[in-house]
């Protein structure tokens, strides 16, 4: 079992817990508050090993909030409070002994806006390796990550160029390469294609399908077609505006086919038929 309270993963060592199938992250959210504002309640979502889990739902229903709770990114927001538990390969990542910095090294993140560092393409990808004090062949690691991200052929002759000089779609693939260079166990993606054109979107979708061979992926998307194309499992969230609040909650989670073609809940059915009409 992987330890979350000691050192970071050695980038070279095999990643823990991928041989079996099962649940990589199991989040039992009772309540998430921002200050006094109840943002999310009663949501039990699971990210399965070796699969892509899609998070869908109307704007403001807490998809990003839940996603960012899965690697403790929300800890950076002082008013954030979570009640419930989030387990990663069986360990509660909100336990007192856990170092959130280590959690984030196992559970990588790709953001809505491409956000490469203002440094060379090579250094962007090598960043996580250096952070983890990786001793070994950097060139090889960087090339492998760029190849997996489908960017190698486009950048192999300009690895010393600044990452910000790439196009938006290339930048997003660079961010994916950066995230997978250290071999995280899970990859969280918050609307990774929303700033991209349809062609770049297609490239990234194909990439995700490749990536799920090795990583467990959770992706927030506003695009129903995208969820249908890439997600194995889908979690549908909605907003409860009774009692004057705006509280997001999980309506149902299941196989993507089932959610889209045979939803158990009326809310899901209404949302999906609304989105496709």
């Amino acid at each position: 079992m992987v330890s979350l309270n000691t050192v970071a993963p050695a980038a070279a060592s095999p990643r823990p817990g991928l041989s079996e199938t099962g649940v990589a992250i199991d989040a039992r959210v009772e309540k998430i508050y921002y200050g006094d504002f109840l943002a999310v309640r009663d949501s039990h979502v699971a990210v399965e090993k070796g699969q892509i889990t899609g998070f869908i739902g109307p704007s403001g229903c807490g998809k990003s909030t839940v996603l960012r709770s899965l690697n403790r990114m929300n800890d950076l927001i002082p008013s954030f409070r979570l009640m419930g538990s989030v387990t990663f390969l069986g360990q509660d990542i909100y336990a007192k002994s856990v170092d959130p910095v280590v959690v984030r090294r196992h559970i990588g993140m790709v953001f809505q806006q491409p956000n490469p560092f203002s440094m060379s393409i090579y250094e962007n990808v090598a960043f996580g390796l250096r952070l983890n004090r990786f001793k070994g062949d950097y060139d090889e690691k960087v090339e492998t990550a760029l190849r997996k991200a489908g960017l190698w052929n486009e950048v192999k002759d300009k690895l010393r160029q600044n990452g910000l000089a790439l196009s938006g779609g290339q930048q997003q693939r660079l961010c994916i390469a950066r995230a997978i260079a250290t071999n995280p166990t899970v990859l969280l993606m918050d609307e990774p294609c929303s700033a991209l054109d349809p062609i770049a979107t297609r490239i990234i979708e194909e990439l995700m399908l490749e990536l799920k061979q090795e990583y467990s992926v959770a992706i927030v998307t506003h695009n129903m077609q995208q969820a249908m194309r890439v997600a194995d499992k889908t979690a549908f969230f909605s907003v409860d505006i009774s009692k004057g609040g705006r509280t997001g909650f999980l309506v149902e989670q299941g196989d993507t086919r089932q959610i889209f073609h045979d939803p158990r809940e009326k809310l899901t059915k209404d949302y999906i038929s609304g989105e496709f009409s």
Binding site: L76, R104, F111, N115, F117, F127, L131, L164
Partner: protein, 296 residues
């Protein structure tokens, strides 16, 4: 031909895109541009007349001897201000050695690590006050603290006094540069598993580096031209600098001393030294521009 007539010659649904000087908007624009040019020219008259005087009067005397020889005594002919150039470089160097690490770390604290803490508010307030302080107070402060303490005027004390002047500039420009680093880059670093310190040192600071260096260059340019802080700290010397703990010459104090003397030779040298000083300041200003423009 009036606008109306011109309009009739075209297909009615195609608007004219040509320049039209009779259009009130264009006219106002032209008048404003001309006015701005006049004001800009007027404002640069003093600047260019100073430059002109410096180049004609200082340039006449500027030569190898002037920048390598020691200052002449009383009625002696020839001589130069080589020791003052070295002294200025040494003391500005000491100032930079002290102010750059402190200023950059301070800027990082103010801009990235704890932007709204009480400590940052206090530090920022003090820095802003210090930039507006008469520079002679830096000299008096270091005089009371170091010169009296060490029992001698020294290059070290001069460097410290310059550092007092440089720290606020370095720190406040570094803060601005650090603040310009987009939050999403920092989020990316946190998402990779960086601690707060690692984010600041590995992402924020490198990204802000061009802006930080701009501030450093400006501070160096400013310090090279300072005279008041050196008056009570480094004093002056007619000899080459031998150690950091003895009175030391500087260009600005040499100019101050020599320009008041009744000897034409010294007055000429004061002009030449002024030209050298202006060139040094100019070079660092231009460097700061070049570095600042290299931003991504």
């Amino acid at each position: 031909m009036t606008v109306i007539e011109a309009d009739m010659n075209r297909k009615p649904d195609v608007p004219s895109l040509d320049h039209s000087f009779s259009d009130p908007r264009a006219l106002r624009n032209t008048i404003q541009t001309v006015l701005l040019w006049i004001v800009a020219l007027l404002a640069s008259v003093p600047l260019f007349s100073v430059l002109y005087m410096l180049i004609t009067r200082g340039g006449a005397r500027l030569g190898w001897e002037a920048i390598t020889a020691l200052p002449p005594a009383g009625l002696e002919m020839g001589g130069g201000f080589g020791n003052a150039i070295v002294g200025t470089v040494v003391m500005v160097g000491i100032g930079a050695l002290i102010s750059v690490p402190l200023g950059v770390l301070g800027g990082l604290l103010l801009g990235a690590i704890a932007p709204s803490s009480r400590m940052s508010d206090a530090v920022r307030f003090v820095a802003k006050v210090l930039t507006g302080f008469p520079s002679i107070l830096a000299g008096v402060f270091v005089y009371a603290w170091l010169v009296l303490g060490m029992g001698t005027y020294s290059a070290f004390a001069g460097g410290v006094a310059l550092a007092v002047r440089m720290i606020p500039t370095v720190m406040l420009t570094a803060e601005q540069a650090v603040r310009m680093v987009p939050q999403r880059m920092k989020d990316a670093a946190f998402g990779m598993g960086c601690t707060q310190t690692q984010v600041a040192l590995r992402v924020t600071l490198p990204t802000a580096m061009p802006g930080v260096l701009t501030g450093v260059m400006l501070a160096v340019a400013g310090a090279a031209g300072e005279s008041a802080p050196l008056l009570f700290t480094a004093l002056f010397s007619n000899y080459w600098i031998g150690s950091l703990t003895e009175p030391t010459a500087s260009l600005s104090i040499l100019i101050y001393n020599f320009s008041g003397m009744p000897f034409p030779n010294q007055i000429e040298l004061a002009w030449a030294a002024s030209l050298v000083l202006v060139l040094i300041v100019l070079v660092f200003n231009i460097l700061s521009r070049l570095i600042g423009a290299r931003r991504v």
